[in-house]
Structure formats: structure tokens, C-alpha cells
């Protein structure tokens, strides 16, 4: 809506895209990217039902607050524009726009339409870290896209991230499981969101968005979950006894370590079956 937020969005997009773009480009013709778009402008802020266009083509139709749409798009540079419901680039000016957003092939990114810290609509582009997790781990990313001051993010009562401000993010890899999450005004015990029970599933990236407006008293949480980012465990040691007890006949075999004991080994092995 304001030129200022549009410009900021454009710069932010270029900044995140460039380092990765240099590696990933030139893109092959068929190279695709996964892009999610989160509508995080609260109702009543002039964007209750919108259509999103990319390079003049309709990308998302009838998009409403609190909704997350995931699309697959060819790698390339995009001009993004958000229009009021039913309006098009041919007959109206966009509510929000960001030009020249570089989307490298293979990337996973999220574009948020949200309020900036002062309550003006803005577009932000975040690259989602979907690198492999160790077995048993989950990745939590928290993004501040609300018209609200700096906050601390707590998990089970302990500060996990502190001094998070709009439009920034923080992330951590934590053991998978159930957590109680809450958001406090920075450095205070004043809880503005939560506590809410959140499951962080193994091998998934859970992205939590704090959105809305403190002044309008409609701060809320939204989440995006990206699964399938675990390589699985290192192996399955399911023979030769437990790790608590080494097989003695095997220890003997290893110690002597020569073909001379093979006959004996055969007999011992046979007796075990």
C-alpha cells in the first residue's frame, strides 16, 4: 500500500536471493522452486480477499487472512502483485507489490503479506532452511511479522529466542516432541501470545509466524510445516546381542583372528541356532 514497504520488500528479497542465486543459476529450463505465500494481514486492513499475481499471471485466487498457499513455480525473476478480489493488473493498481524477486531453482521460500512494525502492509520473502536434520531432531523457525514491538519466544517457559523484531526470524534445532510455546514482550513477563501446545515432529521444519497487530489486539500465531527433511537413523544394530553384552565367541574369534578357528566358530555358531 505504501511505497516504503514495497521498496523494503524488494530489497529484502534481493538480499536473500542473491547469495543462493549465484550458486543455483543459470537455471535449467525445467528447474522449479517451491514457494508458499502466507496471507498475514488481519481482517479489516484493506486486504480481506485478494488475488496474487506473479509476472502478470494469476498465482493465487481468493486469498484470505490466515491462509497459506504453496505453489511450484519455474526458477526465475518475479514481479509479485497483490490485488483486491476480482481486480487485475489491467484495470487496477495493486494493494502491494514487490518487483524483481529472484527465485533460484530448487529453493524453498515463503512470501508473507503482513503488517510491518508500524502497521502498514508489506511483503517479505524468507528462504526456508530445509537442509537435512539428524534423526530425532526438529527445526523450529519463528518469524515476527506483526505490528508489535520486540518479543522473546519461550518454549516450556524458557527463553528460546530473545529480541526478535519485525521482519526478522530466528531458528533452532531441538529434540522432536511436544512443547508449550509462548511469546512475551522482550525482557518482560507480559505474554502476548500463548501459551499454546505445539508439536514439533521429527524430521520436519515448523515455522511459526507471529502476525496481526498489538494495537488492534489481534495478534495471532500461524504455522507452516515442511516435512520429509530427515535422513533417518544411522542404522539398525539388531544382531549379535545387545550393545550391553558382547558375544563372547565373537570376541574370541576376533582375538585369535585366523582361519584356524573357523571350524570351531562354525560349531559354536551352529549351536546357537
Amino acid at each position: 500500500m505504501t511505497r516504503r514497504s514495497i521498496t523494503r520488500a524488494g530489497i529484502a528479497a534481493a538480499a536473500v536471493a542473491l547469495p543462493l542465486g549465484l550458486v543455483a543459476l543459470p537455471a535449467q529450463a525445467a528447474e522449479m522452486a517451491t514457494v508458499s505465500v502466507l496471507h498475514a494481514i488481519p481482517e479489516g486492513a484493506g486486504a480481506d480477499v485478494v488475488d496474487v499475481f506473479a509476472n502478470g499471471e494469476l498465482l493465487i485466487d481468493n486469498f484470505t487472512p490466515g491462509t497459506l498457499q504453496t505453489v511450484e513455480v519455474p526458477a526465475g525473476d518475479y514481479d509479485l502483485a497483490v490485488f483486491g478480489d476480482g481486480q487485475t493488473p489491467d484495470d487496477a493498481d495493486p494493494v502491494l507489490a514487490a518487483e524483481g524477486v529472484t527465485v533460484p531453482g530448487g529453493i524453498n521460500a515463503t512470501v508473507t503479506a503482513n503488517l510491518d512494525a508500524d502497521g502498514n502492509p508489506a511483503l517479505n520473502v524468507f528462504v526456508n532452511d530445509v537442509s537435512s536434520l539428524a534423526a530425532g531432531e526438529a527445526r523450529l523457525i519463528v518469524r515476527h511479522i506483526a505490528a508489535a514491538p520486540a518479543v522473546d519466544v519461550l518454549a516450556d517457559g524458557n527463553v528460546l529466542f530473545s529480541d526478535l523484531t519485525n521482519p526478522n526470524e530466528d531458528m533452532a534445532e531441538v529434540p522432536a516432541g511436544d512443547y508449550e510455546a509462548s511469546v512475551n514482550l522482550m525482557g518482560t513477563d507480559t505474554t502476548v501470545l500463548g501459551p499454546a501446545g505445539v508439536m514439533l515432529e521429527e524430521g520436519t521444519v515448523t515455522i511459526a509466524y507471529a502476525w496481526g497487530s498489538a494495537a488492534e489486539e489481534n495478534l495471532a500465531l500461524a504455522t507452516q510445516v515442511i516435512s520429509g527433511v530427515s535422513d533417518g537413523p544411522e542404522g539398525v544394530p539388531a544382531g549379535g546381542g545387545s550393545t550391553a553384552g558382547l558375544p563372547l565367541w565373537a570376541v574370541a574369534l576376533a582375538a585369535v583372528g585366523a582361519a584356524g578357528v573357523v571350524a570351531g566358530g562354525t560349531r559354536l555358531a551352529a549351536s546357537r541356532n
Binding site: E57, E72, P104, N108, V130, S230, G235, A238, P247, G257
Partner: protein
């Protein structure tokens, strides 16, 4: 516990392996496996990840993680839109804990096996914990629950233990496609499966990512050890993997799979 015929097969395999001596033991996975039969259901869980039956699945998911939704429509079917819609959801719903009941008992009539299923996680090496009592099996708690409708339910068990003798999965390598398996859950319900494949993998080439994936078709994956015993590593060189697919779900547990 064990049927005579598979026991003889295992004996023959052991004798062959040890008879070849240190050369055979050193060349891990060189053809002394339980033969592989049948095939696992395809698991196209990660876009861009090739599925290699030898276990060399490429694991480049730097940018193409599963969104959890099947690709469906283009944004606007009336145009030749270059954009493909994957999923639209209400983001204000938080991810909630999964309430599907966990498995409690594993029954395999062909092996005369009825064994408790513990809940297991990871050891300090990042490997799956296998119950110390070789007569018990373990459901890997980061795998799908039976009956969840998606992904692999992994149950592991020992082949044997030196001080305990035969383990619950001593004869896993004798299962063949068509054999029946039942998993009873803690709520008294039972999921019935039919074996579709049995495979042997050198431990360095086990397709762990596929076998443990929580996406793709619903399936039961039983894993134990097999192949020759490597005395230098104090373990068997292979993993035996039996895959079964669900054929029925029953609200109350019967005892005749």
C-alpha cells in the same frame, strides 16, 4: 519358536559364511544374503530424490522438501499457467500431537511369533535402539504409527543374542510374500498386513531414508540383522528387511491373523 525348515536354511548360511573364512567375512555383502523377494511399494516421498533399490538414494533435498500434499491443480486451469498449486491450508491451526494408538504386540503366524512391542528411540550413535531382551521388539517412535494411513511403521528386533540365544526375529529371513502379520495396538485394535517383499542389504547400503520415511504408502517395515557375522565389527554384515502392506483394520483384537 522356530520352524525346522528355516532353521536349516540359517544353519546352511552360517556354515557357508564361516567356511569361506576370513576372506568371505571381510568382503561384506558379497552374495551370502538371504535372497530378496518381492518389491516394496514405491515411495516417492521426496521430490527430486531418486529411489535406488541398492540403497544409494540421492539425498539432495536442499530445496525440495515434501509439502505433505499431492500436486493437484494449476492456479487457473483456464490458462496455460506455469504455476502449479500444491496445497492450500488454514495456517492458524497449530500442529497437534498425533493421537493414533501405538503398537503393542506383533504376531506372525508363519514364524509362530507373538512378541511384545516396546517403544524405542535412538542410541548415542544415532542408531535405532533395539530392545536388550532379544525376545522383544521395538517400534521406532519417530516412524509412523500403524493405521496412521501414511508412511512406514518400523519395528526392529534382534536376530539373536550370544547370552540369550534366538531373538524374536531369528527367522525373519524366511518370510515370503503373502505371509500374514498382525499388529495389535494399545487400544485393542489390530492392523493386519500381508508381506510384499523381503530384502537383504549390506549395512553400509541400507536405504534408511526410504525405509524410515513417514510419507508415501502406508506400510510395515520389520528390520533385523542377517548375513555373515563380522568378528572384527562384532556384528552381522547385513540388515534383513521385510515389508508388508495393510490389508485390514479391526476395532477389536482377534487372535487368529
Amino acid at each position: 519358536m522356530t520352524r525346522p525348515r528355516p532353521a536349516i536354511l540359517v544353519l546352511a548360511a552360517s556354515a557357508l559364511a564361516l567356511g569361506l573364512g576370513t576372506v568371505g567375512l571381510a568382503s561384506a555383502g558379497s552374495g551370502m544374503h538371504v535372497d530378496s523377494v518381492g518389491s516394496r511399494p514405491a515411495t516417492p516421498d521426496i521430490a527430486g530424490t531418486s529411489v535406488d533399490p541398492d540403497g544409494d538414494a540421492s539425498q539432495d533435498n536442499s530445496g525440495s522438501a515434501d509439502t505433505g500434499a499431492a500436486p493437484s491443480t494449476v492456479a487457473d486451469p483456464t490458462t496455460n499457467s506455469p504455476y502449479r498449486s500444491l496445497d492450500r491450508r488454514d495456517a492458524t491451526e497449530l500442529p497437534r500431537p498425533d493421537r493414533t494408538p501405538r503398537p503393542q504386540t506383533l504376531r506372525i503366524p508363519a514364524l509362530d511369533l507373538n512378541t511384545p512391542v516396546d517403544v524405542v528411540g535412538l542410541d548415542t550413535q544415532g542408531q535405532v535402539e533395539v530392545p536388550v531382551d532379544v525376545g522383544r521388539t521395538g517400534w521406532y517412535r519417530f516412524s509412523s504409527k500403524p493405521g496412521s494411513g501414511e508412511g512406514s511403521t518400523v519395528i526392529v528386533g534382534h536376530r539373536d543374542g550370544v547370552d540369550q540365544g534366538a531373538g524374536a526375529f531369528i527367522d525373519l529371513g524366511s518370510l515370503t510374500p503373502g505371509d500374514r502379520i498382525a499388529v495389535d495396538r494399545v487400544d485393542g485394535s489390530t492392523i493386519r498386513y500381508e508381506v510384499v517383499s523381503r530384502e537383504a542389504f549390506d549395512k553400509n547400503r541400507v536405504p534408511l531414508r526410504e525405509l524410515f520415511s513417514r510419507s508415501g504408502p502406508s506400510r510395515l517395515t520389520l528390520i533385523t540383522c542377517g548375513g555373515p557375522f563380522d568378528p572384527s565389527a562384532l556384528s552381522y554384515t547385513d540388515n534383513i528387511v521385510v515389508t508388508a502392506v495393510p490389508v485390514a483394520i479391526e476395532a477389536e483384537s482377534g487372535q487368529t491373523p
